[in-house]
Each structure stands twice: as structure tokens, then as C-alpha cells.
């Protein structure tokens, strides 16, 4: 593998991994937000039922 091969290997790995992590983070945040909306609406329903 020539010198540029190593350079692209390093750069490729770094930015791919960072991108994947970013996507993973965003997915986890989205899932948490969905769950939170669900919990909040369930709580509202309970409160309205009690009132």
C-alpha cells in the first residue's frame, strides 16, 4: 500500500466512525424524545381522568 493508501485509510476510518457515531447519537435522541412524548401524553391522560 502506497503512502497515500495509509493516509486515506486513516482519514477514511476516522471520519466514517465519527459520522456513524453522530448518526447513532441522533437516533438515540430521537427514540428518547418519542418515548418522552408518550410518557407525557400518558401523564396528561391520567391527570384529565382524575379531574
Amino acid at each position: 500500500m502506497g503512502p497515500w493508501g495509509f493516509v486515506f485509510l486513516a482519514y477514511g476510518i476516522v471520519w466514517t466512525v465519527i459520522l456513524l457515531y453522530l448518526l447513532n447519537l441522533k437516533r438515540r435522541i430521537r427514540r428518547a424524545e418519542v418515548e418522552l412524548v408518550r410518557l407525557r401524553s400518558a401523564e396528561d391522560l391520567e391527570r384529565d381522568a382524575k379531574a
Binding site: M1, P3, W4, F6, V7, L9, A10, Y11, I13, V14, W15, V17, I18, Y21, L22, L25, K26, R28, I29, A32, E33, E35, L36, L39, R40, A42, E43, E46
Partner: protein, 231 residues
């Protein structure tokens, strides 16, 4: 969109611009090294990565101290977020160092001080994450994490010293170290490339940290709501 999200968006956009600029400077504008040739360009990844990893560790320490002192969930959140992202950058640093090492030294791994230290840093970070995930009760996990974060950080200089002494006393200093750039003779374009990449990594780091921090806040709110009534 809420202001928090908007600010994060700006930060992310800024980071992206910096990263692309850094890529251009690192791969195109900066000249190849006189001794190592093109391979030396990995330095523009490697030095910012390791600095980011150390910054992360410092933030874990700060978050841990604050948490043990004030018991505010926010500080624990910071520590946990910094640890997770710290693992990411430390692992990347090792990968970069290894890839840089192959054409330079001829081997994928060597137990030289820098690589060894980075590997140890990774082990400590990973230990932190494992500890937190294996403790079930919330407060205990936070406290235990904080204790480990503080001890780990205090140990780092000692580990640093011991590994360096071990390696320099027992190995001839003839090994060319990829990150021993002679600062006096560095080409200005290289310095610019390094600075831009450093800024890019910092922006990226804080962008990722803010996202991970937000995730922690969401998890906390979910837990409180679950406990106080919701199913």
C-alpha cells in the same frame, strides 16, 4: 425549533465547515514531510484526536468533582457524556497511531510510550463506562462513576511518568516518533493545517458533547416520569 436545538445546529454547521477546510489544508495545501513523505499528513488527525481525548478526560474529572460536591445530576451527565465521547476519540487516536506507525516503523503496533499510554487511557475510559452500565441504581452509578473519574484522572500523571521512564530507560531513543515534529522548522502551511484541524476537532467535539449531554437529560426525564407514575 427550540433555541437549544438551533444553537446546536449552528455549532454542527460550523464544525462541518472547519472539518472540510481542515481536510483541504491537511491533504492538499500542506506540503509532504521531508522525511516521512505523505504519511505524515496523519498528524493532522492524530494530534487533535489525542488532545480531544485528554480534554474529555479532564471534563470527566470536572464533572465528577462537581457531582460529588453538589450532587447535581447535570454534572454527572457531563461526566458520562464526556466519557463516552472520550472513548470514541481515544480509540480513533490509537487507530491513527497504528496506521501511521506501519509505514513509518514497519509495524502495526509497538509498545512505545505514546501508544501504550493512549491504550491505557482507553482502558480506563472503558472501565468507567462498564462500571456505570453495570450498576443499576441511578445514584450509585453516578457516585461510583464520579469516584472512578477522579481516581483515574489523578492516576494519569503517575501512569504517564511510569510508562515514559520505563520506555526511555529501556529502549534506545533511535525510534523515529511520528509526533515529534520539530516546532522550529515546521513549515507554515503545516502549522496552519494543524491549527485548522485542531479547531475543527474542538468544534466537532463540543457538538457531539452537546448532543450526548442532551441525550442524558432526556434519559433522566424519562426515568423520573417513569418512577413518578407513568407506566
Amino acid at each position: 425549533m427550540e433555541p437549544g436545538k438551533q444553537r446546536k445546529g449552528y455549532l454542527g454547521g460550523l464544525a462541518l465547515i472547519a472539518i472540510l477546510t481542515g481536510l483541504y489544508w491537511g491533504l492538499v495545501q500542506a506540503p509532504p514531510d521531508a522525511y516521512q513523505g505523505e504519511v505524515q499528513r496523519i498528524m493532522y488527525l492524530h494530534i487533535p484526536s489525542i488532545l480531544t481525548a485528554y480534554l474529555s478526560f479532564f471534563l470527566v474529572f470536572v464533572g465528577s468533582c462537581l457531582y460529588l460536591w453538589k450532587r447535581e445530576k447535570r454534572d454527572d451527565n457531563l461526566a458520562y457524556a464526556a466519557a463516552e465521547i472520550g472513548v470514541l476519540f481515544t480509540a480513533l487516536t490509537i487507530a491513527e497511531g497504528s496506521i501511521w506507525g506501519k509505514p513509518t516503523w514497519g509495524v502495526w503496533w509497538t509498545w512505545d510510550a505514546r501508544l501504550t499510554l493512549t491504550a491505557v487511557l482507553l482502558l480506563i475510559f472503558v472501565g468507567y463506562l462498564m462500571l456505570r452500565s453495570l450498576l443499576e441504581e441511578e445514584n450509585r452509578a453516578a457516585t461510583s462513576g464520579a469516584v472512578l473519574g477522579i481516581i483515574g484522572f489523578l492516576d494519569i500523571p503517575l501512569i504517564h511518568m511510569s510508562v515514559y521512564w520505563w520506555r526511555t530507560l529501556h529502549q534506545p531513543p533511535s525510534i523515529l516518533r511520528p509526533d515529534k515534529a520539530p516546532w522550529e522548522n515546521i513549515h507554515p502551511a503545516m502549522l496552519i493545517a494543524l491549527t485548522i484541524n485542531f479547531v475543527a476537532f474542538m468544534l466537532l467535539y463540543f457538538y457531539l458533547l452537546s448532543l450526548r449531554f442532551r441525550l442524558g437529560e432526556l434519559h433522566d426525564e424519562i426515568k423520573t416520569r417513569r418512577m413518578s407514575g407513568g407506566r
